[in-house]
Assembly symmetry: D2
């Protein structure tokens, strides 16, 4: 339980509502800043304007997944204006206060260091990345369904990369009945790919290996679907690229060749904000309970 | 091979293009009626206006999945106007000519009987219904993803009915990580449900059994999701009803209770016209090759 | 509950112990005949010698899975001698008494008819056959493991027949990572085989289709693995034939060609007597509760 | 291809035959030492007695999986007597010669270092360990089937450890229809366990978590199934411990409590020597081809 803990939520989107629900159910209290238009109401929460006082009192400050930009701006879906965090807001927090953010830019990092705040970049935690791979994979598959005129069942599919997202994507696609190839760059990953019932291919030499594919899912944040690889791909093939911007696809060349290629960022929040919020909430609760 | 066989296609949608491709690849020839705006071109096919001559020559006439209505109207996506079939068109066909249609109304049936035409109602063939259950299931799942804010993985899901669609839906949902209950009304089906790793529930007494569900998929073409059952369902639950019109859900009551309920007809043609066309094409080819 | 119901168990093996446990947990009482060496003790049960009195009192008489042979002999693992049922024993039972047996020979059937006893041939019930397919499949797979020097994972496997056992076998083998072909003789079954992710082959023309197989499982109680089919099979291939005696394999020819072929009857009782007993017990309880 | 490469095989078991087959098919030549009773014959191989000359000529020397003990003894199934390797044998090999062994004792390691031989401990390679996890898991499951009277399907099963073997075991057991819990000690592994559809439990606090289990598979080479954990386990539960000797189970206490517990070493060679040999052969070929 988190009895007596004080949370401050600064902005956010549908995911935060789930986090607020979770921490208050664990008996914490929550102050919501930037939630003026919020329809719902929660136990043991109050809406407040941004102030140093509110922050001085916090055990944990929760920022949105996108965090704070380098100008101090924090987005919120629940108010008409974004929030702005100034140096004095960080100065007001007690040393040791948790600052939870999905990702963190330079400015946020340096403020937290300066004031000895415990910054947790949630999206970099392995457990969060693995759990987030589930809504990500479902979202990528939903996109693929939308952009093709065939079923996933029976489709020839490649998944590039066998990291946190690649493993989940490959497993679900195969379970749905696709013929799944997965690219990897070391023999241990190839062994696991084989054990899980997929066909291993080498990330290094994709040229010519993807020629029969109906759908390619890229998870590798490096230029792997180069023009020379895309030149060997079927024109009716659809590329769903979920790697972080700018993705791993030569989108210019894909368009020129007439291959549909979609860059698909931020799927968990889009596809399943409640699940995505629960993942964040669980991890925040776990970390605070460890204290 | 279908060398020398003559097909006449009367109207249709994207699915027919796949059928045309298949039969011409099997070396048949095809005459397309109602395809004036067709962009693509196919080997060994010619566009023709509707006429008795064209039909007199046919070994097989292929209507769209929806067939012909009782006024003789046949829809087509590839021309500005629908086609119209008159009694003399049927009279012109040779006895024994195959007439393929997805479903068939009274009028079409009686004309075919009268002129001894071999009418095949494709959607009533078990093999077609089973294969069509795949795009149907994927489409239903895509809809569920769109209408919920959670993932299929980890969701509590019920599938009502364990027929051709129910089996496929349950299998895919479970493979994706949902907790799947399936309703049936005889012990043999319950045994198979258990063997496949789902939880059997009784179709007869749904009251109270669906209270924890996040998503309910109905495949039973009878009023099973009655007001009294829906009254015990969670308000955040989403109902995807794929049973033939009017579905098995009391949509009025669902709306009143604030439960999102979607009637989702004709999924295969929407979601995966190419796959749906292949299914039809394969069966047509198989039946003609048996001759 | 089965409160007040009186069961008489006549002989049996480990499976019956599970049935006795179940019916007594449902509050029935049980009289055990032919259980003199029984180690365990159960609530509300008594050991008795065979007599007309015992039977006159019964609501349900439970025979072993193998039932009674045409000389009236009933086997028992829990006594030194088998039991013998005489005409007067059947005459003593009240009309309408349930007689549960796995299978039933001519004699047992005619006695039951004559005295208006409700004979239930458990193994012929679809629900029992489907549930029994699970221990059967596991036993067949255990045998295959024992007789091969390769893993099931990655093996080329054919399952002949897609009935109650064939479906279960194919599903488990595929889940374990085998490449599974399944034979069927109608297009609807082929469609389901494809939907479930296996490769359909035609039961009619097996010649030459099994040439790459490492293991063949036969479930068809007809001579399908004939000499001419076996002549095209790899010599290192192993055949596990679970079809009822004499199986569907030409064992003489298999031996001559040096192919290991095993006829494997009665797997559930061998492999998983407790599970097999539970299946029987559940069905008996369900049928009595319907009364 | 391995054209021109010279292999020397020193002793071994059925697995080596598969390796010999593979390297000779890749066009290498092989000299077999300790294979006097070998029934089969291979292309491009010769039987030879142990000698320095034979070894001087080798590009790669292949020892059995168990390697050489600290007295220089090397076991062989294909001769009446084991082989003995003396210091001069190592001295005779050219620097840079590959020495393949499953595992390696101190003595073997120091000789290889001294003479600059490239010792490869195959069983320590991640790719080999992952692929070997497949026959290991199948063997463990076969043992569980043999020692229980229930089916894997429907059984409550725990897998302790989520490393190379634990992942494979859990996946297969779940696919077969077991209810699978998996223990782990960090949140990232728990996340993956959840994603794959199993129930995560904490390795640290097993007390009381295993009370409903029918079968426990241990893969952790540490005392985890202690007396205090076993005291909370059902007496009919079966423990299959595959961790390296002495396993992770308090076998003395298990016996005292009447729990069947089996230590099961060396499963791949027992269960599927051909598959196990292929795994070794593939890796040897891959490593030599990299040269
Ligand atoms: N669109 C969304 O909604 C969404 C959601 C989650 C994540 N993402 C993004 O998706 C990407 C994958 O995320 P993740 O969590 O799966 O990351 P991850 O676990 O780090 O996996 C990355 C994969 O890429 C491979 N890889 C990296 N560099 C490579 C290179 N130069 N050549 C070949 N392979 C390379 C890695 O191989 P090794 O294992 O061999 O290193 C690994 O398989 C990231 O860019 C992440 O930001 C997007
Ligand atoms: N939306 C789409 O795109 C789409 C696509 C394909 C099919 N469909 C429609 O979906 C429905 C199901 O198709 P299907 O091919 O799966 O049909 P099906 O194989 O006939 O299955 C129907 C199921 O409903 C059960 N059922 C029927 N009447 C019932 C009743 N009164 N009470 C309880 N259960 C009952 C049947 O149970 P028993 O097995 O016990 O009889 C069976 O499990 C049909 O209406 C079909 O037209 C829609
Ligand atoms: N060894 C054991 O422990 C054990 C346990 C259970 C059952 N069994 C035996 O295993 C066999 C299968 O049992 P089951 O419950 O799966 O039976 P089932 O449901 O009746 O299935 C039999 C299968 O065989 C096919 N078949 C029958 N005759 C055929 C023929 N002439 N040519 C081609 N296919 C044919 C059927 O095809 P269609 O569907 O097209 O008719 C069906 O797929 C039976 O002999 C049964 O007694 C043995
Ligand atoms: N019987 C056979 O035929 C056979 C075949 C192959 C392997 N094996 C043996 O099986 C065992 C497992 O092999 P593997 O390849 O799976 O090894 P592995 O990949 O290293 O996995 C070992 C697992 O044990 C966990 N672990 C280690 N120490 C622990 C501790 N003190 N407390 C809790 N968890 C602990 C590890 O957790 P972390 O991931 O958190 O470190 C990991 O999950 C080894 O002993 C191996 O020699 C036997």
């Amino acid at each position: 339980m988190l009895t007596g803990r004080k949370f401050v939520f600064l902005g956010g989107d549908a995911r935060q509502l789930e986090v607020i629900r979770q921490v208050t159910e664990m008996d914490a209290s929550a102050t919501l800043v930037g939630y003026d238009n919020l329809g719902e109401s929660f136990l043991d929460t109050q809406l407040m304007p941004m102030s140093e006082n509110v922050l001085a009192d916090a055990d944990a400050v929760v920022l949105p997944v996108a965090g704070m930009d380098n100008d101090g701006k924090v987005d919120t879906r629940f108010a008409d204006e974004p929030l702005h965090l100034e140096p004095e807001h960080f100065a007001a927090m007690r040393p040791g206060t948790f600052v939870f953010s999905g990702i963190a830019g330079e400015r946020l990092q340096s403020y937290c260091e300066e004031h000895q705040l415990r910054l947790v970049k949630l999206m970099e935690l392995d457990e969060v990345a693995i759990l987030n791979s589930i809504p990500t994979a479902e979202g990528a598959i939903a996109l693929a369904m939308q952009h093709t005129d065939i079923t996933i069942h029976g489709a020839n599919v490649s998944v590039l990369g066998f990291g946190r997202c690649g493993k989940t994507l490959a497993r679900i696609l195969s379970a749905m009945g696709a013929n799944v190839k997965v690219s990897a760059r070391d023999p241990a990953n190839e062994a696991r790919i084989y054990e899980m019932g997929f066909t291993p291919i080498s990330s290094g030499e994709l040229d010519g290996l993807l020629g029969q594919d109906d759908i390619i899912f890229n998870t590798i944040p490096h230029p792997v679907l180069t023009a020379s690889v895309l030149a060997t791909v079927n024109k009716s093939c659809v590329v769903i690229d979920i790697a972080s911007k700018p993705g791993g696809t030569d989108f210019r060349y894909a368009e020129r060749r007439g291959i549909k290629a979609v860059l698909a960022p931020s799927l968990p929040g889009l596809v399943a904000p409640k699940t995505a919020g629960r993942i964040i909430g669980n991890t925040i609760c776990r970390l605070l309970a460890l204290e």
